[in-house]
Subunit: 250 residues, 2 copies
């Protein structure tokens, strides 16, 4: 089955959490909006689902995944759906719910990252809300980055499967003893925070050895490493969610 | 099975989406933090899950639901879990995913409502971010309320089950032909918007007849109506997510 991922073609954004899962699993997929219009892809194909009245269950926004007749939007819901199919989540209901909760918490901090540069309105330019952004950035880096990273650190350090893995020099996992989509997303979150708030993030990572080890472990995953080195991996930029505005990093 | 809901005891907040589902289903539950400390309830019981190192899978924040050994946080994840047990979601995977996506989109606008009065930081008082809040409120009521309500209206008007229901004077549903937890949550969203942004919301509801009919239909649901008239239903207030600050409503 060929998955069709629809997301903005020039940024990592929220679509990157889905791309990482598909890539880590070696799943066949099309990044539709990055494809050619004559081949039925490109932005026209994506806009159809968002704008045509004929779509009975329209996504509110991208990213969304089309799998046969199913159209699934909301990053965390897409990963909830893909997890079992890509073997990127545990088999028990408890593990699946816990992985989903972690993913939703990652979604929350991702939204907060976005709001540091768009505290007033997502429809305004950064330049039109810069004073507000500086106040928001200060609170985010001094209160929210520490709070979230401390929670991820607690989750990792309380996962009994990780003691053995770390002793063998292997990266820890958020849930049980196997790689999950939440691990991939936490890797991406740390990547993004290091890009957007390098000073504040490095400071906090010194107190978060498990998070640091997870980040290193995921980066060494064979298919993830190949993806990150490929042209399929778009660079971070000031059009995405994680933006490097030094004035927000203090 | 007695469900244990943990949430702030004095506000509706995000916990209200869970309370409404439990109440509509007539499910037995304890609103733990509103209970008595000597009975092992109250804030002490809630804090245990958030603060004790012995909790292996700690919630990041409330609300969370304890069901036997399971501890589930994140409003949308709790409803994903409860939906089938309370018969508040369809039986097919497609319906369950679609209901969850709608719920996550409701969670998004709820977060945006919160951010109108806390655009800079959730850790600061409203009074310390009032100028920013006025700008944020203006964009929220002129751009975001119309965009979200238009989407809910589209979802309702494209659900083929609703034509017959409306012809019979019955309220429409977001998914299929039965009440789901997403219907209850959309009712609560409209309640909250009418409290916080009465002018902007009433204006937009005139263009959203299906949303209006859903709101009226849910309010007439027997168990929901009994709950809303009871002391268990906390009032809206300026401590919750939906706050009536007239200066933000234009």
């Amino acid at each position: 089955m060929l998955y069709h991922l629809h997301y903005w073609p020039t940024i990592q954004g929220r679509g990157e959490f889905i791309r990482l899962a598909l890539e880590a699993a070696g799943a066949p997929y099309v990044d539709v909006a990055r494809g050619d219009e004559p081949a039925g892809q490109g932005m026209t194909a994506m806009s159809h689902y968002l704008e045509d009245d004929s779509v009975s269950r329209p996504p509110f926004a991208c990213p969304f995944l089309v799998d046969g007749k199913l159209v699934i939007s909301q990053t965390a819901a897409i990963l909830l759906y893909l997890g079992p199919k890509l073997a990127l989540v545990g088999k028990s209901e408890a593990d699946r719910l816990w992985t989903h909760q972690i993913q939703l918490t990652i979604a929350d901090i991702v939204q907060e990252v976005h709001d540091t540069h768009h505290p007033v309105a997502s429809g305004l330019y950064y330049e039109d809300q810069q004073p507000e952004a500086q106040r928001a950035g200060r609170h985010f880096r001094t209160e929210r980055i520490p709070k979230y990273l401390a929670w991820f650190e607690a989750v990792l350090s309380r996962n009994p499967s990780n003691a053995g893995r770390l002793a063998q020099g292997r990266g820890p996992h958020l849930v049980g003893g196997r790689l999950s989509y939440a691990d991939l997303s936490l890797f991406q979150l740390v990547e993004g925070l290091l890009y957007a708030f390098p000073k504040a993030t490095k400071r906090q990572l010194k107190k978060s050895p498990h998070v640091l080890a997870l980040h290193a472990g995921v980066a060494q995953h064979k298919r993830v490493a190949a993806y990150l080195a490929s042209e399929r991996r778009l660079p971070f930029s000031e059009e995405g969610i994680f933006r490097r505005y030094p004035e927000l990093d203090g």
